[in-house]
């Protein structure tokens, strides 16, 4: 609670730390690794390629969004992939030659037929569009109690990718190109420079920046009125409502803000893989995101970031690479990446058994697990034990003050 007397102001502590880590990683990939010996370079290319870092950052952005819904407001969402997909398709529509009969270019990363709008604007549009969809999906669903809400979000997570998959003929209009998806998506343009497929370090910087923005927004919201309202709803919905918290509006806000992060992640992902493909947006993404939030520490931004980085890395690089090494070593032919959910499931079970609060738990949860809430009987007993001697002395002055009509 009481902050230690460090010369760095409290407010600047995380931005400085975050920037320091981000810059160190940047320098490592920009200067250090290219100048290492060939063996070390191969090691990094195999075990920690920059693409996997970039992809992990997309996961971080989306997981932070889901954390607002699940970790802050306590609403179980099993269909978060919907927002990732919507963000992706916004990028597909506004940054490609998809609508070739429209010719619109605004600071875009490519020219020619189609709509080519600047990546930065598309980020804003994607975020806003997802917020809108968050409200549209949320408004009818958020009235439901938590278990039913989980089921309905699960449904929406399935429906939206299906809409994209089958959206190549909506009354004769081809909105999504169906199973082919939309490729390629324009490169990111910074002024007149365009980031090509090998400018991964710069993309890294951009993704780190987007993640920082989401962290900033998340932390600011948490400290404010809305954050307290979310927390109250998570703890006791009815009591929160009795304090004057408008339940629907507050839950919708959680949904919409979370969706914005999902949209930003979706747009970033589209530029990362240079396209949008409908079969990428499946249920396993929602589940992986949820695992990241739970594993890292629900409600704690840093825990969620850690969880997202670790799981994304295991998924994209760690497991395949381990498999390759293992198979080379023992001459086996095991398809390790196909066991990723077995591994995740195992990790989750172990976490629930031994560290329910996550790797880096929220301080609230940590405290309450250390000193759990009392049961009714326990608290009655505590009253008898603790209060009795003290109250015998206290009671007299209370009664005396009563007569004088003391006012505060």
């Amino acid at each position: 609670m009481a902050s230690k007397s460090v010369s760095v102001p409290h407010r600047l502590r995380w931005p400085l730390g975050y920037t320091a880590v981000a810059v160190l990683v940047f320098l490592a990939y920009y200067y250090v690794i290219p100048n290492l010996g060939p063996d070390a370079q191969t090691f990094f290319r195999n075990w920690l390629p920059l693409t996997s870092v970039n992809e992990a950052l997309v996961w971080v952005i989306c997981a932070l969004g889901l954390n607002i819904v699940v970790g802050y407001a306590g609403l179980l969402d099993l269909g978060f992939v919907a927002f990732w997909a919507i963000g992706g398709y916004v990028a597909g529509w506004l940054m490609s030659g998809k609508f070739y009969d429209v010719n619109f270019n605004f600071l875009g990363g490519a020219s020619g037929p189609g709509i080519h709008i600047s990546f930065w604007l598309v980020l804003i549009v994607g975020g806003a569009f997802c917020a809108l969809w968050g409200v549209i999906i949320g408004a009818p669903t958020l009235r439901l109690k938590s278990d039913y809400l989980a089921l309905v979000t699960l449904g929406f997570g399935e429906i939206i990718p299906q809409v994209f998959l089958n959206g190549d003929n909506i009354g004769g209009f081809n909105l999504t190109n169906g199973a082919q998806g939309i490729t390629p998506v324009d490169p990111i343009a910074i002024g007149s420079t365009k980031l090509g497929p090998f400018d991964l370090v710069w993309k890294y910087l951009i993704f780190v920046g987007i993640a920082a923005l989401v962290v900033f927004i998340t932390l600011r919201l948490r400290e404010g009125r809305l954050g307290r309202a979310w927390l109250a709803i998570r703890e006791d919905e009815l009591a929160a409502s009795m304090m004057g918290v408008p339940l629907m509006r507050t839950k919708l806000a959680a949904y919409a803000v979370g969706a914005v992060a999902g949209g930003l992640g979706g747009v970033a992902f589209a530029t990362h893989v240079n396209g949008v493909l409908p079969d990428r947006f499946n249920f396993s993404i929602s589940i992986t995101l949820l695992a990241m939030v739970v594993l890292g520490g629900m409600g704690n931004v840093w825990g969620v970031i850690l969880g997202a980085l670790v799981l994304a890395w295991i998924n994209s690089t760690g497991l395949p690479q381990f498999g390759t090494s293992f198979n080379d070593q023992f001459g086996t032919n095991v398809n390790f990446p196909s066991y990723n959910f077995l591994l995740f499931g195992g990790i989750l079970v172990l976490m629930m058994l031994f560290r329910r609060e996550g790797i880096l738990p929220e301080s609230r949860t940590r405290l309450i697990l250390k000193e759990p809430s009392r049961t009714d009987m326990e608290s009655l007993h505590a009253d008898m034990e603790e209060a009795a001697p003290e109250l015998d002395e206290d009671l007299e002055p209370v009664i005396a003050a009563d007569g004088t009509g003391e006012k505060a």
């Binding site: 006791d236 009795m242 609230r364 009655l380 009563d402 505060a408």
Partner: protein
């Protein structure tokens, strides 16, 4: 403490229930109840388990719909007003079972009570007033509320409701599950809350204690009004004492 009936009834009522009916599904829990609360009063609703006392409070604060009849608060109809709006109108409800936020600190809980208020100075003032009222809460100000004893949690629930600076405070079974020493403290505090200008509508199973602090009482029986009158008279009524007070 209380005047005779004639004295109180010349004032404008603060809260008026007119023949209200409240249902859980198809089951009528309150059938045609009418009651009046005047400003500055402590009014208590007593009666046995399932008589409809808590249901009445829930209907007033918008947690349950009123199917027939009207609820009027300070001249405005309260029917159909959402629960979070009722707080804004000046009614705070300290619910049955306390329902504090267990993972929040005492301070944060009090803060939540003032959720709708924007007057920082007034909030600080009220916070100080509540900590005067409940010194135990000051000792535990940064403790997680869920780790406190039942009595402390009850104090917090009442204090939290007071943080809304309500004109009318609805208290649902504030003595339930408390050690006897703490019951006295809670009832003393109710008197002091009224002295600070807040009107109190109190639901209690501990009818004897409730009649001691209240000005007037309404006795409910299976959802309907059995009788009402000045609290001190009811406390002396042999029939009431034997039927409801376990005397």
């Amino acid at each position: 403490m209380s005047g005779a009936n004639g004295v109180t009834e010349t004032r404008e009522p603060m809260l008026e229930l007119d023949e209200i009916h409240v249902y859980y599904g198809n089951i009528a829990a309150v059938k045609g109840l009418s009651l009046t609360v005047y400003p500055g009063e402590i009014v208590t609703l007593i009666g046995s388990n399932g008589a409809g006392k808590s249901t009445t409070l829930r209907a007033i604060s918008g947690l349950l719909p009123v199917r027939r009849g009207t609820v009027t608060f300070q001249g405005r109809k309260l029917n159909g007003v959402a629960d979070h709006e009722v707080v804004r109108r000046g009614i705070a409800h300290s619910p049955e079972g306390r329902r504090i936020f267990p993972k929040m600190t005492v301070d944060e809980n009090l803060d939540m009570g003032a959720f709708l208020r924007k007057d920082k100075e007034g909030i600080a003032e009220d916070r100080e007033m509540i900590l005067e009222l409940f010194p135990r809460l000051r000792e535990r100000i940064s403790q997680k509320a869920g780790t406190m004893s039942g009595g402390e949690q009850q104090m917090l629930a009442v204090g939290r409701a007071m943080m809304a600076r309500p004109q009318l405070l609805l208290l649902d079974e504030p003595s339930m599950g408390l050690a006897p020493v703490l019951v006295d403290v809670i009832f003393e505090t109710i008197v002091r809350i009224r002295e600070q200008g807040t009107t109190v509508l109190l639901v209690e199973q501990n009818a004897l204690a409730a009649l001691e602090v209240a000005d007037r009482a309404y006795v409910l029986e299976s959802g309907s009004l059995k009788l009402h009158g000045p609290a001190d008279e009811l406390a002396e009524d042999q029939e009431i004492v034997s039927a409801y007070l376990g005397g």
